[in-house]
């Protein structure tokens, strides 16, 4: 009888201990799983921030390098070309006095070549650093870009905005929108065989939207991204947007062609205007 009672207690205690272990096991799995997910999320966030920082630094370096090259072209080559032009002007007067027509013709050709080179250098400098964007804002920069393109290409580019006075945004945001617009328009010209491009810039209280639509052959963004090199332009757009918390969406309108819509949260300018190109400045530019 004594043994029977002891057996009962032993069984009860063993069963309860086993149950306690089972409860602990379930609780542990739930707790550990939750902890691991939190840890994984934290690591992902760190990785994401790190990649973003890396991308930001790369783009900053690119812009700094562009500015440095533009500065060198403007200060060194540009100055030397201007001096060459002045010297040629003086020489031209001497040649004109000598009365030799052949020498005069060579002189005029040299002067015209130098002037053309000066124009080229100016254009390259402007392309490298969008000074209009920095000085006058996004709408003026886009209009200037369109004007230049229409001169060089046989296509119609329409630009419209939902506001006449587009409020100035942070330098990084404006540059991002400008570069994306450049990339999308260049892509349309290079790959879409289009005859018309529509650029729409819209702003509301929270978001800025940039839509570039063409009437070309259209494309499948996913397929292009899969083929490594062809997708670099689109990846570049996505990388730039990731830094400013923006998104991009590609559509294929029913009437043909393609349409890309970039959306970026509004970030009004802080008031620090960038320095214009200056002959003696070489500091790093933080955009």
């Amino acid at each position: 009888m004594q043994n029977s009672e002891e057996l009962k207690w032993a069984l009860l205690i063993a069963s309860l201990a086993m149950l306690a272990m089972a409860f602990c096991m379930i609780a542990f799995v739930m707790y550990y799983q939750k902890k691991r997910f939190e840890e994984e999320k934290r690591i992902n966030d760190i990785e994401k921030n790190y990649n973003r920082l890396l991308l930001d630094t790369a783009l900053n370096s690119e812009e700094t390098e562009r500015r440095r090259i533009a500065q060198d072209l403007h200060d060194d080559i540009g100055t030397m070309l201007s001096l060459t032009k002045l010297s040629l002007n003086q020489l031209s007067k001497l040649v004109a006095n000598s009365g030799d027509e052949k020498e005069e013709s060579i002189m005029k050709k040299s002067q015209s070549l130098v002037e053309e080179t000066i124009l080229h250098v100016r254009r390259i400098t402007r392309d490298l650093v969008p000074t209009t964007l920095e000085r006058f804002g996004l709408m003026e920069a886009i209009e200037e870009f369109i004007h230049k393109l229409e001169e060089d290409n046989n296509l119609v580019i329409a630009f419209q905005s939902n506001t006449e006075e587009f409020p100035r945004q942070g330098q990084k945001l404006e540059l991002t929108l400008y570069r994306i617009m450049q990339e999308l328009v260049n892509n349309a010209i290079k790959h879409a065989s289009c005859t018309k491009i529509d650029i729409v810039l819209e702003i509301d209280e929270e978001m800025i939207g940039l839509r570039v639509t063409d009437n070309g052959v259209g494309f499948d963004p996913e397929k292009i991204k899969e083929s490594n090199l062809a997708g670099l332009g689109l990846l570049g757009i996505e990388s730039r947007l990731a830094i400013v918390n923006g998104t991009v969406q590609y559509e294929q309108p029913a009437r043909g062609g393609s349409s890309a819509i970039a959306r970026i949260p509004v970030n009004p300018a802080s008031g620090n205007k960038p320095e214009p190109l200056h002959p003696f400045r070489r500091e790093r530019v933080n955009i």
Partner: protein, 231 residues
């Protein structure tokens, strides 16, 4: 007509509730369409067979007939259905192989144990519970559950366990088999026709956790969404 049945239910309320509580997860399986999932379809089969066997056992018990042969025969059937659920949950070939092998193993072992525990199989009145098979079933089920928990933690594919149906099913099974594992071998000696040993509250613990297990099954099935499953 059902006087003896009612009397039995009144005298054994906990074990009777453990029989009828199976209706709850069964109903939920139908209403939530949980049978769309392969594992939960096997759970549905388990619940149906368990309800049928339990009702027959309750009927036999209330009419003072030895029903232990059904309990013994249900061991390989229940193990096949419950471990079969893990077959669909595991991704590794080794685990799947282990599940299939163990089903065959438990079937063979249970049959052997029925013969081993009963010298005269023809005498159903003196039929006794198996000595080892239930414990082996419990050990294997707990091993499968722990292996599955390890897989869950390792793969990190389930963001919220509380809304994952199979986690609740596993929790219910783990608690039920944990409550039974030490007790099972003793039932061979205590569940005899001329029983002299009363295990008291310990004997009721598995029934309590059978009820809890059914409730946890119900929670899991309630969390099943056909829409999510389709995705």
């Amino acid at each position: 007509m059902f006087d003896s049945h009612f009397a039995y239910i009144v005298n054994n309320p906990i074990s009777s509730i453990a029989v009828f509580v199976t209706v709850l997860p069964l109903t939920l399986t139908i209403t939530r369409k949980a049978f769309l999932d392969k594992s939960l379809r096997l759970l549905f089969c388990y619940l149906v067979s368990k309800l049928i066997i339990d009702i027959i056992m309750l009927h036999l018990a209330s009419t003072r007939t030895n029903n232990l042969i059904l309990y013994n025969l249900s061991i390989p059937l229940f193990y096949a259905l419950l471990s079969g659920m893990f077959y669909f949950q595991f991704t590794g070939k080794a685990q799947k192989g282990f599940v299939l092998t163990s089903i065959v193993g438990v079937f063979v072992f249970s049959i052997w144990d029925i013969f081993n525990s009963n010298e005269n199989l023809g005498d159903l009145n003196e039929h006794r519970l198996v000595l080892y098979a239930k414990t082996v079933e419990g050990v294997l089920m707990i091993s499968l559950i722990l292996l599955y928990f390890y897989e869950i933690i390792k793969s990190l594919q389930i963001p919220n366990l509380l809304t994952f149906p199979f986690f609740w099913v596993c929790s219910g099974l783990l608690l039920y088999y944990s409550s039974l594992i030490f007790l099972a071998p003793f039932l061979h000696y205590t569940y005899t026709w001329n029983n002299q040993t009363d295990l008291g509250i310990t004997e009721v613990i598995p029934s309590i956790f059978e009820i809890l297990c059914a409730v946890l099954f119900s929670v899991g099935i309630y969390n099943f969404s056909p829409r999510k499953y389709a995705k």
